[in-house]
Symmetry: C2
Subunit: 364 residues, 2 copies
């Protein structure tokens, strides 16, 4: 029997720019069957959380551009479970909005907030960790994050430094947080790993509605005030108009920067469930099947000659000949082709910007 | 006033496999504006020869698959000027067929036979050489070819060894031929160049109908007999049925191997008019405009980062990002993409075969 106070907010408004052109503005990666196993990432995410919370307690927050995609891919959702943002304002406003909607329904809610587009290898471990985390946050007023034991000095992730001397009574994997850090340079990332005190920030948060509301009041009072004005309107026909109005004036800020880095009640649950943010082509490559030359190929008509360690992602029926490439990304989607060294994959975001500036929004 | 005995046969049945996928079975390179100057190669070839022969004396021989393309691109041709082959049988049957058609109209014809898909830089020089060649072949019973002064040990061309001590009286650029050689290995090609006795075989021939007919009788009597049976049918409604019938039994053989290499009356006109067979991606690259990193790019939405000496040929509106390639071919046409080192371009023909075997004829 699932706990009816347990809620889940799945954030699905991002565009996955570093996986462009596979992921793009019109179909971001959460809506794609990235791993080719028959389900999109958001469908898998929903099913994972359906093992933890009642299905009717799972909310998707996304940009209104993606309303149709969301409805198509998750037809079991009611209208009220699809929270539509009129503009992108990063994670703090997104979470504040979901909080007020859930609070109006159940002020005793305990909520897990998670991205819609990550990979979880060991689902049973994941479910266990989240259930324990929700139990913890229903009993203590902490802001609990998930920290992943790092396996490489990845510069694409944020890091969480934790205080080994301060594990939570009752759960030896939960620690007080010392610092949150943004994506580091490589040397910094290496020293993080060497110190043994840092975990990858998986962007998964757990808290009670009461605790997170207090944090907003303290650290982001302007945003809290905006959303508070809507009390009485959430989950009613007037919600949309109100939201369209306040999003215009709401500033853009992440929950990490706006609250987590400043709060003194941040805790981290150190976990290992085989996690990847699937944020870059290498991250995808790492999870794919390889041929004997270590190429990971998606596409039915791809032929490789003297090629190794490439990640190739082409439309199913396109004929592709690749000769003489080692450690490259070759990907096409929506009439956009990219050929790029894997080692330069952090530049992909810049290429997206360049293409948008030079050729127009329709290509990104 | 053009000489009404001068005729031209333009051979347009090839597929340009080494320029695949730009050139392919459905639209071979002669029907493409390969150099992006607004005219297809066959249109340019036709116009060049229209400066030499009366337009009504210019014949196109092509596969019947390309009848529509030929009519569309050369609307001034009458039906009888488009000679359609039911099967590919290489150049000797193609030439025998054209000979008999022209002989039935004008037994005093002097003919220039030329490919439809080559590049000529200096058209005035070319016109002058062909006019002089036709004059020579109308007066003497020789089989005259054009030999191009080589500028590199290109292994994609056939070579003609000529006898410097035997220039033709009256034209110091025309010599007796010692040998014709097929495409050589690189070391052989280098020694050809060093010797100073070899020219590139441009595949352009001139002869009187009488002289070439005698050569067919002598060296390819089986083929001559087949086509001779049709005398009385050429240029009549019965021609097509007859041709469809004999092509089924006619063997495949080139004019070079079948006649030129064996004849003792072969002559070569050494010429320099800026010639390329446009046979490979490098040949095309050599003629294209380059950017400051020596990339030759066709496509309106191509962005290059750390790329040099590449030949890029993409559909006009496709967005393409290329990072970190040096000296590569990147080309797409008809839903086929190739990425290949320029140094491996002679393999392209093999890739075409592999794709046809593995994925089907529709992709080549």
């Amino acid at each position: 029997m699932q706990n009816s106070n347990y809620y889940c907010v799945i954030m699905a408004g991002g565009v996955g720019a570093r996986l462009w052109p596979l992921s793009n503005n019109s179909t971001p990666k959460q809506f794609i069957d990235v791993l080719g196993d028959g389900q999109t990432l958001i469908q898998k995410t929903f099913q994972r959380f359906a093992r933890i919370c009642p299905k009717e307690n799972i909310y998707i927050v996304t940009n209104k551009t993606y309303e149709t995609l969301t409805r198509e891919q998750l037809p079991e959702l009611t209208d009220n479970q699809i929270i539509l943002e009129p503009f992108r304002r990063d994670t703090a406003p997104c979470i504040a909005y979901a909080n007020y909607k859930i609070k109006a329904i159940n002020p005793n809610a305990v909520v897990v907030v998670a991205p819609s587009d990550h990979y979880i290898e060991k689902e049973d471990v994941f479910v266990d960790v989240i259930q324990k985390g929700l139990e913890i946050t229903s009993q203590s007023s902490c802001l609990l994050t998930i920290g992943i034991q790092p396996t490489s000095p990845n510069t694409g992730y944020g890091y969480i430094q934790y205080d080994e001397d301060e594990p939570l009574a009752g759960n030896p994997s939960v620690y007080a947080v010392k610092t949150f850090t943004e994506k580091p340079e490589l040397e910094m990332a290496k020293s993080f790993i060497d110190s043994g005190e840092f975990l990858w920030n998986a962007g998964i948060f757990m808290w009670s509605i009461e605790t997170i509301n207090k944090a907003f009041e303290t650290f982001l009072p302007d945003i809290n005030d905006l959303f508070k004005q809507g009390e009485g309107l959430y989950n009613t026909p007037k919600e949309r108009e109100f939201i369209d109005h306040i999003y215009q004036v709401c500033r853009k800020i992440s929950i990490d920067y706006g609250i987590m880095e400043k709060a003194d009640n941040a805790m981290v649950y150190a976990a290992n469930f085989g996690w990847s943010d699937l944020g870059t082509w290498s991250a995808l490559y790492d999870l794919q099947k390889k041929d004997d030359k270590l190429n990971a190929v998606v596409g039915n008509h791809v032929k490789l000659y003297d090629a190794s360690k490439c990640v190739v992602n082409m439309p199913r029926n396109k004929v592709v000949i690749i000769q003489g490439l080692d450690d490259y990304i070759v990907a096409e989607n929506n009439n956009v082709l990219i050929i790029c060294k894997k080692s330069e994959e952090q530049q992909v975001r810049q290429y997206v910007t360049d293409v948008q500036v030079d050729f127009g929004r329709e290509f990104v």
